[in-house]
């Protein structure tokens, strides 16, 4: 029987749902880059005070600030998608999906606030 199979090219922009999915997947590139920047900072720290301060100064350049803001937004989005699907990845528990998501999001907010507070004092 002759059939026609449609090509998949461009599938990701045919539905907004796929765009959000792809954004979630692509955020890993920025998160990896962020981890590498941190790792590089550690290397510079090992090289002495002057090297470390040069690295710190580099972080205050406009490009670095834009990169960090974009990465922060992507991390927040990635974390949200993570908690949103958490009930689907857990074994059955006797609480509603909504409660699981709320607990996860609350926990991440609480830990973030604690970290910011600890860094401030």
């Amino acid at each position: 029987m002759k059939t026609y199979t449609r090509p998949m090219a461009g599938w990701w922009h045919r539905n907004p749902y796929y765009l959000w999915y792809l954004l979630r997947e692509l955020s890993c590139i920025f998160i990896t880059a962020y981890a590498l920047v941190l790792l590089w900072g550690l290397v510079r720290l090992g090289q002495g005070r002057a090297s470390y301060e040069a690295w710190l100064a580099g972080l205050s350049s406009p490009a670095a600030i834009v990169f960090h803001v974009v990465t922060l937004l992507l991390v927040v989005y990635h974390a949200w998608t993570w908690f949103k699907i958490m009930p689907k990845t857990l074994p059955r528990v006797p609480v509603s999906d909504r409660t699981i998501v709320a607990c996860g999001v609350s926990a991440v907010i609480a830990v973030s606030v604690l970290l910011v507070w600890a860094a401030a004092v």
Partner: protein, 246 residues
């Protein structure tokens, strides 16, 4: 009477190399479904338009299609919701087109068969022993998955299936879970081969759209991801305990 422009994908294997679109002006009332719109075309405008349907009440799973790019059952979608913007009707994504809006489901049927979608009891049980007893809690473990009507909207929603047609896919894996989670069933070890396979649950990247489009709220994404846990346990536990029946 209001009219709606319905653009249908047309493909005739005898004459066409590739599909094209044809637009029909369909008069409609507020209570008319998209399926009824297609039936109007077939009855009054173009008898050659081919599409599948049966029950008209979202239980047979025959009339699924891409309505403006979204997988939906055409019997429970209404023409009024597409007025005045217009409606494009295409066959379900990711499946080969047989003719116009009819797709070839044989790949899914093969996968459905592979998950052994029936109860495999521990030992044969004679009728004289009576019915199986199950608590409401035990039933709750599988009930939502048993509502699957094999409409294939989840496959049309899954880009991983489109990119790799070998992927067992959301529908068959949800039905696999329906039997694995049933307290009367003892066929889990047999079905784990499908779960663990290269194209089993690990073909899923949790796009999650399958569960969004399911007309029966089956949540195939949950079934697939529950089985990622099962697959991981199965992999590591084999070092501790030999697998049954292999």
């Amino acid at each position: 009477m209001k009219t709606l422009a319905i653009e249908c994908l047309r493909y005739h294997p005898e004459t066409d190399q590739a599909p094209h679109y044809q637009t029909y002006e369909v008069p409609f009332t507020d209570e008319m479904s998209v399926l009824q719109g297609l039936q109007y075309i077939k009855d009054h405008l173009d008898g050659s338009l081919t599409f599948r349907w049966s029950c008209r009440m979202a239980i047979c799973g025959s009339c699924g299609g891409m309505l403006n790019g979204v997988p939906r059952l055409s019997c429970e979608s209404f023409l009024r919701d597409y007025h005045p913007g217009g409606l494009r009707v295409e066959p379900l994504n990711h499946f080969p087109i047989q003719r116009d809006l009819a797709i070839d489901q044989s790949d899914f049927l093969r996968k459905l068969e592979s998950v052994k979608p029936y109860l495999i009891p521990e030992a044969p049980r004679p009728l004289s022993e009576g019915t199986y007893l199950q608590t409401p809690q035990q039933m709750d473990e599988y009930y939502q998955y048993s509502k699957c009507i094999n409409c294939l909207l989840c496959y049309a929603a899954c880009p991983q299936y489109g990119l790799n047609p070998e992927f067992t896919g959301p529908g068959a894996l949800a039905l696999l879970q329906r039997y694995n989670a049933d307290s009367r069933d003892a066929g889990k070890a047999e079905r784990m081969k499908v779960v663990n396979a290269e194209d089993g649950v690990w073909g899923c990247t949790l796009v999650g759209y399958c569960s969004e489009v399911c007309p029966k709220a089956v949540d195939p994404a949950r079934a697939v991801n529950q089985n990622k846990i099962e697959s991981t346990k199965d992999y590591f536990l084999r070092f501790l305990a030999p697998r049954r029946g292999r």
